[in-house]
């Protein structure tokens, strides 16, 4: 029983972690919190469903199309809304409000496009489940964990070891100095938004087949991802992944052994505890405490 609970905790935990990572990347690049991260996930799940289930495209094609469209959505959002507000020297709080406005627009847009019912993905794999260490794991759930971990590793290598990833981190730290080195900060920031949106879309494609696809799918995950980012240390990539994964496991364990009624109390209670006692999170990141 415990093993099975841990696995399903890990499924949602990976998604929380990746969404938390999206928050952290954007916080680093633009210095603000982007509250449409979750709804970008919803859009990704709907797009994936449309391409795969409705248009009957191969899963890999649906996957790539979704990611490409999501990158475009993220970059558009940055260019059309965020950069304009930052250019007008609008206070950060209002820009965060603007992201909440966009979040509702995305939700409403999704209702216009797909309605309010819940859609279930047709199976992606020919086998229903895989057997690991004596437990049966739904194929889509196993795929979610494996793909998340691969994505985390790829992102880690990109950000840490490639020239472009290093330039991205540099311009997030000191845009003027990066510019003096020949880096175009406007481009790295836009790309960061694109990558964060791509992560959202990918999460939608991974969790949609496990949970079903509906309008508020991403909103709840987005809030949990935010909590995960705070718990890990807001702005820290690895903290985000750890905080999110931890939160997923804790809430699944709570659901299994206590009651699903308490799972949100426990998750958001944990968020409050961290905000009050250790706002720098597990990885001791200073963003919120300052």
């Amino acid at each position: 029983m415990l093993a099975r609970v841990l696995v399903s905790g890990l499924v949602i935990g990976c998604i929380y972690g990746l969404i938390a990572l999206g928050y952290s990347l954007i916080y680093r690049a633009s210095g603000l919190m982007n509250f449409c991260q979750g709804d970008i996930l919803t859009i990704g799940a709907f797009l994936g469903y449309t391409f795969y289930a409705m248009l009957k495209l191969p899963f890999a094609v649906a996957f790539i199309l979704t990611i490409v469209l999501e990158i475009a959505l993220g970059m558009l959002l940055e260019r059309a809304v965020i950069r304009r507000l930052l250019g007008k020297k609008v206070d950060g709080t209002y820009i965060v409000l603007a992201t909440i406005a966009v979040s509702y627009m995305l939700q409403n847009g999704a209702i216009l496009g797909w309605g309010t019912r819940i859609f279930y993905f047709p199976p992606i794999f020919s086998v229903l489940s895989v057997r690991v260490f004596d437990i049966n794991i739904q194929s889509e759930a196993a795929f979610c964990i494996v793909a998340s971990v691969i994505l985390m590793i790829v992102l880690h290598i990109f950000v840490k070891y490639t020239a472009y990833g290093t330039a991205m981190r540099a311009s997030a730290m000191d845009a003027k100095a990066a510019k003096a080195c020949g880096v175009d900060p406007a481009m790295t920031i836009a790309l960061t938004w694109g990558i964060s949106a791509a992560i959202g879309g990918l999460c939608g494609m991974l969790i949609g087949p496990v949970y079903g696809v509906f309008i508020t799918l991403g909103a709840a995950i987005g809030r949990k991802g935010f909590a995960g980012a705070v718990i890990g240390g807001f702005g820290n990539m690895y903290g985000a992944l750890l905080g999110g994964a931890l939160l997923g496991i804790i809430e699944t364990v709570t659901t299994a052994y206590v009651s699903s009624i308490y799972k949100d109390v426990v998750s958001y209670g944990l968020l409050l505890v961290f905000l009050l006692i250790k706002p720098t999170g597990i990885f001791n990141e200073r963003a919120i405490a300052d």
Binding site: A163, T166, A167, R169, A170, M173, D174, K176, A177, A178, K179, A180, C181, G182, V183, D184, P185
Partner: protein, 240 residues
Amino acid sequence: MTALLQVKDFHYYYGKIHVVKGVNMEVREGEMVTIIGANGAGKTTTLQAISGLLPPGGVRGEITFNGKNITNSGGDKIARMGLSQVIEGRHIFSKLTVQENLMVGAYCRKDKTGIDKDLERIFKLFPRLKERLKQLGGTLSGGEQQMLAIGRSLISNPKMILLDEPSLGLAPIVFREIFETIKEINEREGKTVLFVEQNAKLALKTAGRGYVFQTGEVVMHDTGENLERNPEIRKAYLGG
């Protein structure tokens, strides 16, 4: 011979505040030129506007580099054209390692072998950087940070380097060492150098020519020697 860098009737406005008022300057290829002047005279503003690092709306006048008009070309593009600046206050990427800082400096280059060769040259100039490759930029001492800032600029293999107060906040023994290296970069590597310096004595000794800034204007320009001998300069900047 036309100048490598030419600044013509340059003005800068921070909003409505007019801080640089009609500066004319030129630096020829291979020269080492200094700008001296009191705090707030507009030296940093001029240097950063040349490199495209200030909001472009405030610039009036014309800046040309290597025969091309670079007025408001955008800082990243100007850096890629071979005009590199070591900005005031060093601006090391504090959470990147020394190696990563240098990697960002080489961002616009694709020739791996050229980069490696230049890296070796930089390590010869600043052996301490090589010893600290894995250390975070923010944990270096002030002098080491300045070395890293210069190294980060050199690794882009620029035609010309602008340095803004490289001695700021450094102990005399450290900044003498850094000035020796800057001189070496100019003399042996043939890089054109324009630097701003508070320590007027040291600046005029090191540079071939100098411009004297006062409240946003060039009030005098001459060879370093002549400026050093000039009674007005001695009184105002060299302590009598």
